[in-house]
């Protein structure tokens, strides 16, 4: 890549300031939006007639001018370093779904494990659009009214190249993790998965062992002397090398006459294994 981005000469007399540790977009050549869902997301921009201007943003994104970028429910907020010392603040807004809407969406997703399975495997079934459409929900923006775009730069064109750069970064985020599309609509991955788990009817995280209630003896009078036999042969683990556990634990900072405790204990484990 040349030092001089191709657009710098034509549009701006000055180069944008370099960013240390900016958000680097990984794809240095070729298409950024590799997956159907990120292409689908960007397609709206093309429909809005701003497709051509996105090319500038791509270069910005690729040269790492984006300082930070947060995807949140209903908005993407980013700082993009331009020619001025203070980075421009870029915000892309999209309506987040409300609680009731998400309730319907989660119910539908939980009822068909294929969606979650595909999402967790890094994909997104195309049918998901229909699924949500059936619930009266649009996953991707359909018109300009769905998107709000702000940038603190003096450029009057919307989207400016800073906005365009963020769109491109967004597309890469979507490529890498389709859950980000859903996060933008209001459910981050962890919350969504936890909600799906609950709706699947399989209870929350496992109850802590200690909290299991003790059945009073008085309720067990009919089977007081009985219980299933515990057949431990089902769980017979393989015999590890003697002292395998010692290898797993951390060394302790104590020693006797220069010999560390872990080494001193080792012969004991060897003897334990002897039959």
């Amino acid at each position: 890549m040349s030092d001089q981005p191709f657009w710098a000469a034509e549009d701006h007399p000055k180069r944008p300031l370099r960013v240390e540790n900016g958000v680097q977009i990984h794809s240095s050549r070729g298409t950024v939006a590799r997956t159907w869902w990120s292409r689908r997301f960007l397609a709206v921009l093309e429909e809005l007639g701003v497709g051509g201007r996105l090319a500038r943003g791509r270069s910005y994104a690729r040269s790492g001018q984006i300082v930070s970028c947060e995807i949140d429910a209903g908005s993407v907020v980013a700082l993009v370093q331009g020619t001025r010392p203070t980075p421009y603040k870029v915000r892309i807004g999209i309506p987040a779904w409300g609680k009731e809407e998400w309730g319907r969406a989660e119910q539908a997703l939980a009822a068909d494990a294929w969606y979650a399975a595909t999402l967790l495997a890094g994909g997104m079934p195309t049918e998901i659009e229909e699924l949500f459409a059936g619930l009266g929900l649009a996953l991707f923006p359909t018109s300009q009214r769905d998107l709000t775009m702000d940038c603190t730069c003096p450029d009057a064109t919307v989207p400016c190249k800073h906005l365009a750069a963020v769109f491109y970064l967004l597309a890469e985020r979507f490529d890498a993790d389709p859950f980000e599309v859903l996060a933008l609509r209001g459910r981050d991955k962890d919350t969504l998965l936890a909600n799906l788990r609950r709706r699947r009817g399989s209870g929350a995280a496992p109850e802590p062992e200690a909290d299991r209630p003790v059945t009073p003896l008085g309720e067990l009078l009919d089977s007081f002397y009985e219980a299933p036999a515990a057949d431990l042969t089902r769980f017979a683990p393989a015999r590890p090398a003697p002292g395998a556990l010692l290898d797993q634990v951390s060394e302790l900072p104590i020693a006797v006459r220069g010999r560390r405790v872990r080494d001193l204990l080792r012969p004991a484990y060897t003897h334990l294994a002897a039959d």
Binding site: A116, V214, Y225, L232, F235, R239, L265, A268, A273
Partner: protein, 1026 residues
């Protein structure tokens, strides 16, 4: 009394925190009720066994406990195990929980594992015993960590993770209520919680199990390193703690501050508690399950896919990658139960299923529901899964479990059944033709199981590609099936296969349209295939003209050789050294030439030079009527003269070298038999002797060797291929199929296949096998220690310093050369400084080894015994001969590589004669094989050849048939030198694997420089007082 106990006592148990296992018992002969009506406080149990009586059965500390028991107003409800001699009437009334005071005995945990005979035990006892076993298993597997408990006490605690956590959970669930019925305090009606109770018991039992196991060690296990000076009045806390971890008393003393510091230090270990969840992968399990169709319902079962009321499903599971034995079915994942074992199990299973659907799209159908657990498969899907999808899933990193019978061991194939006529053992001279396998049959088979007409018809008619035969699912390829049936039709119309053909089939050499999955052989053919022919054949007696009585195992050997000769199969007789391979071969030759006017042509024997005389001598002695000719030496006959000679000769003995040189003459003759003695000589298939041996034509081939060829695979291939060409395939194929899997991966399957292939042609009996021979005296191995002189030690150090420098600075071949040179020099200096310096200086008293040798020889000669001395260094031997000769004033025989054959034979004869010389000094290489020197009952190895096989061969010169006395074998080893280190190394390698040590000392050169340094270094104990 026994009757009383047997019928009426039921023992129960519970764990009492702080006390341990407590036993109490019900007695069916005591009154079932009590007249006491107090409900406020605990009443005495009316029919509990008094503690003193119970302690008579299970000794322990007598006590009294309060138990909460199901009770009626009149008394406790009896346990189901209790049998009353005189049943009391029906009880009625409300059952409620009430406290009772019960006499009990606190016992040692070991009592649980030692049940009395005439007593019944309740479930609670079994449960506590299982806990005890679990605790001991945790200890044995080292799933324990030490900790500090208040007191302070040094305690071992269990670390329960993974599968152990599941086992602990099962133990908690299996605790019968009676096991936690001890009333914790007055007014308590809840009882102990099962979890804290089980954990308390495990904690205590594990500590006891660890101490018990440590106490079992032969020598006390010292955890605290020895202290140099006097012990201080109060030990440091860490030391006191360590000591208390392995003493009967866990208590120890420590200052408060030190104790707190110790507890803090141990914190990271204490934090390692119960289960850690780990990563996992999806595993797909193909199962055939019942359709649960009601058999009474006459209608068709729509789910029945197999015709047997079963259908196929593919079950989803998660398998822990850290502990592959931990497999969790999908329903446990969806219920949340799996989360204790596998982190985020649901999301993981979903992600895995999503990933799997990419390589196995058929999976998608099963995922379109909330909690997918399995995929229903049609028969055709199942076939597709088995033939394609499963492999793709495996390749993508998923696990696949197939039903029994689908591990590929039972494919549809062909089976050959043959049976040999007559009883085993009637096979004698020439009685067995090559066409005699009268009964044979080819059939279709599923694995080993033959299929009948009906089953084959079912296969042919099968529409589906999966057909169940005898409970096994068989994948049917109609084209291959048709070709298989055609093969059967043609083969069964043919003549019977010969034995050789049968063996070829058994070895998979025949090209068949379906794989040969089984060969069933009855009679001697079966014995041959199983390698048991020598045991089932009738032992053969040599003709009367043979002048030796064969031992029973030698007769069996003769019979076996004769049997294989008649079948035209090459035979390898690999009996241990000294068991008389020569005599068995001579007996075979004599047998075949009986009567004397038979027209059997000459047999050619190839052997090392040192053995030519042995063959001549033994033949002259045992079979004097055989005409033996040694084709050897510069005056040997060639061309027409040789041909002329052969017309009147029974056995020609020549050396490998001579055979290679005279190959033109020898190969023009069609030999009756070609025998390779010490057949390991042809281990290198490309060397001149091997090539020469292969060019010779003979009606039959025999290899004689005393080394276990199973461990030397290239040698095994070479010898077997010589005997029966092609039998083990090409060298490349052999490498690929056997050498690499066995030598590199230690594959037992490959080793077993190889054994099965070679078994028919290999007969090996061990000298140590008591069924072979019981009258060979013992061999006593002694490590003869000595010390270096100062002169030797200083030379030794100089060599180590010098050579290590060179080794460090060199690489590859040069480094190997330096290592071997260093080794040789160190050995030489251990022998004698003069050997290293090559200065021809007098021996004097400069070598600790020679001095010790002189002492030894003095003792041996004083007893009138004879001794063999072996050295690998000709120079050392040459130095010793005049020295010892002068010292003991007698002749010392000396045989080395340059000794001419005639002189060699004369030496052996003189040594063996009663009034001959008593000391025979031999070069290890030249004298290590073939010679019979049973007059000696002492063998001394002056220097070590770092290969036990070579030393043992040499030792066997004296320790072989004909030896009447015990043989003492001494190997000189100087402590603290390379001799001792490598001696230890050899012993450890020997134990590890016989395969590691090959012929030479080359393996030493593979040691790292660091290892070499420690092998070479001179220890303080190496030098003696002068």
């Amino acid at each position: 009394m026994a009757r009383r106990l047997g019928l009426v006592l039921v023992v129960h148990a519970f764990w009492s925190p702080g006390r341990g296992p407590v036993l109490w018992a019900e007695d069916g002969e005591r009154p079932a009720t009590t007249s006491r009506r107090s409900l406020r406080s605990a009443r005495p149990h009316p029919y509990a066994v008094p503690a003193s009586q119970l302690a008579g059965i299970h000794p322990g500390k007598q006590t009294s406990v309060t138990l909460l028991l199901p009770s009626r107003a009149s008394g406790p409800v009896e346990s189901p195990e209790l049998v009353r001699a005189s049943p009391s009437g029906r009880r009625s009334g409300q059952v409620s929980l009430q406290p009772w005071t019960v006499p009990a005995v606190v016992v040692d945990p070991a009592e649980l594992g030692d049940p009395a005979e005439d007593v019944r035990y309740g479930r609670s006892v079994a449960h506590l015993r299982t806990l005890l076993e679990f605790a001991d298993d945790l200890a044995a597997r080292g799933r324990v960590l030490p900790t500090v408990r208040p007191g302070p006490e040094a305690r071992w605690r269990p670390v329960v993770q993974g599968l152990d956590a599941v086992a602990r959970r099962a133990l908690v669930d299996a605790l019968p209520p009676i096991g936690r019925a001890e009333q914790r305090r007055a007014g308590d009606v809840l009882g102990h919680g099962p979890e804290p109770l089980v954990d308390a018991a495990l904690d205590s039992l594990v500590d006891a199990a660890v101490r018990e196991r440590l106490g079992r060690a032969d020598e006390p296990v010292a955890l605290v390193p020895p202290r140099a000076g006097r012990a201080p009045r109060s030990l440091p806390a860490t030391e006191a703690w360590l000591a208390a971890l392995n003493s009967p008393d866990p208590r120890f003393e420590a200052a408060d501050r030190e104790l707190a510091a110790l507890a803090d230090t141990l914190e990271p270990w204490d934090a390692i508690t119960t289960e850690e969840t780990g990563p996992a992968r999806a595993t797909f399990r193909l199962r055939e399950i019942d359709t649960l169709h009601d058999p009474a319902d006459p209608g068709d079962d729509p789910l029945d896919q197999t015709g047997d009321g079963t259908r196929w499903v593919l079950e989803f599971q998660l398998q822990s990658t850290e502990d592959p034995s931990l497999i969790v079915p999908a329903d446990d994942v969806w219920s949340g139960r799996a989360d204790r074992l596998i982190a985020s199990a649901q999301e993981l299973l979903l992600a895995e299923l999503g990933r799997a659907a990419l390589v196995y799209p058929g999976l998608t159908a099963a995922l379109r529901q909330a909690r997918p657990e399995e995929l229903d498969l049609e028969v055709e899907d199942t076939h597709h899964f088995l033939t394609e999808d499963a492999a793709r899933l495996l390749a993508a990193g998923f696990g696949v479990q197939l039903p029994a019978g689908w591990n590929g061991r039972k494919p549809l194939g062909l089976k050959l059944s043959v049976s040999s006529p007559g009883a085993p053992g009637v096979v004698t001279r020439g009685g067995l033709g090559r066409e005699e396998l009268a009964r044979f049959r080819w059939t279709m088979a599923a694995g080993e199981d033959e299929l009948d007409e009906e089953e084959i018809a079912a296969l042919v008619a099968a529409k589906a590609r999966l057909v169940r035969i005898r409970g096994q699912w068989v994948s049917v390829d109609q084209t291959a099936l048709a070709r298989g049936l055609e093969f059967l039709r043609r083969q069964n119309a043919r003549r019977a296969p010969t034995v050789a053909e049968t063996l070829a089939v058994a070895q998979g050499a025949l090209d068949t349209p379906l794989p040969v999955t089984a060969v069933a052989a009855e009679g001697w053919v079966g014995d041959l295939l199983r390698g048991t022919a020598d045991r089932t054949l009738e032992p053969l007696d040599p003709p009367e003209s043979f002048r030796a009585t064969l031992r029973p195992y030698q007769k069996r050997g003769l019979s076996w050789l004769s049997f294989l000769a008649n079948l035209g199969l090459g035979a390898c007789l690999a009996d241990d050294m000294g068991l008389g391979k020569t005599i068995q071969l001579l007996a075979l030759e004599a047998t075949e030439r009986e009567p004397a006017d038979s027209t059997v042509g000459p047999t050619l024997i190839l052997c090392p030079m040192s053995l030519v005389g042995t063959w001549q001598r033994e033949a002259a002695r045992f079979a004097p009527h055989l005409r033996v000719h040694a084709h050897h030496g510069p005056t040997r006959e060639r061309g027409a003269h040789l041909r002329e000679r052969l017309a009147h000769t029974d056995i020609v003995v020549t050396t490998y070298g001579t055979a290679a040189r005279d190959i033109e003459d020898l190969e023009s003759h069609a030999w009756h038999r070609l025998v390779l003695d010490e057949a390991q000589a042809i281990k290198n298939a490309n060397a001149a002797p091997s090539k020469a041996a292969r060019r010779l034509t003979a009606g039959h081939r025999i290899a004689l060797t005393g080394t276990p060829m199973e461990n030397r695979l290239a040698e095994l291939w070479s010898v077997m291929d010589f005997l029966n060409p092609g039998i083990l395939g090409t060298p490349e194929r052999f490498r690929q199929r056997f050498a690499v899997p066995i030598e590199r991966h230690g594959s037992p399957e490959a080793a077993e296949t190889l054994r099965a292939l070679t078994r028919p042609y290999l007969l090996r009996r061990l000298k140590t096998d008591p069924t072979v021979i019981d009258d060979l005296p013992e061999k006593i191995e002694i490590r003869q220690e000595y010390r270096l002189t100062r002169e030797q030690a200083s030379l030794y150090r100089t060599i180590v310093d010098d050579m290590m420098e060179r080794i460090e600075d060199s690489q590859g071949i040069q480094r190997r050369g330096n290592v071997l040179a260093a080794m040789a020099k160190l050995k030489q200096v251990c022998n004698h400084p003069a050997q290293l310096l090559h200065d021809g200086s007098p021996l004097g008293r400069r070598s600790g080894k020679v001095a010790r040798l002189e002492e030894l020889l003095g003792e041996i000669l004083a007893e009138g015994d004879k001794v063999l001395l072996f050295s690998q260094f000709t120079e050392f031997a040459s130095m010793l001969v005049p020295h010892l000769s002068a010292r003991f004033d007698q002749e010392i025989l000396h045989l080395h590589g340059g000794t001419p054959k005639k002189q060699r034979d004369a030496m052996v004869e003189r040594f063996q004669s009663a009034d001959g010389p008593s000391v025979f000094l031999l070069s290890l290489k030249a004298g290590g094989t073939g010679l019979t020197l049973t007059a000696a009952n002492h063998v001394i190895h002056l220097d070590r050849w770092w290969n036990p096989a070579v030393e043992d061969q040499a030792t066997d010169r004296a320790f072989r048939i004909g030896q009447q006395r015990n043989v003492q074998v001494r190997k000189f080893v100087c402590p603290g030198t390379v001799e001792e280190r490598i001696d230890a190394l050899i012993e450890s390698k020997k134990a590890l694997s016989e395969m590691v040590i090959s012929d030479g000392e080359g393996w030493l050169t593979e040691l790292s420089t660091g290892e070499l340094r420690s092998v070479f270094a001179l220890g303080a104990d190496a030098v003696g007082d002068e």
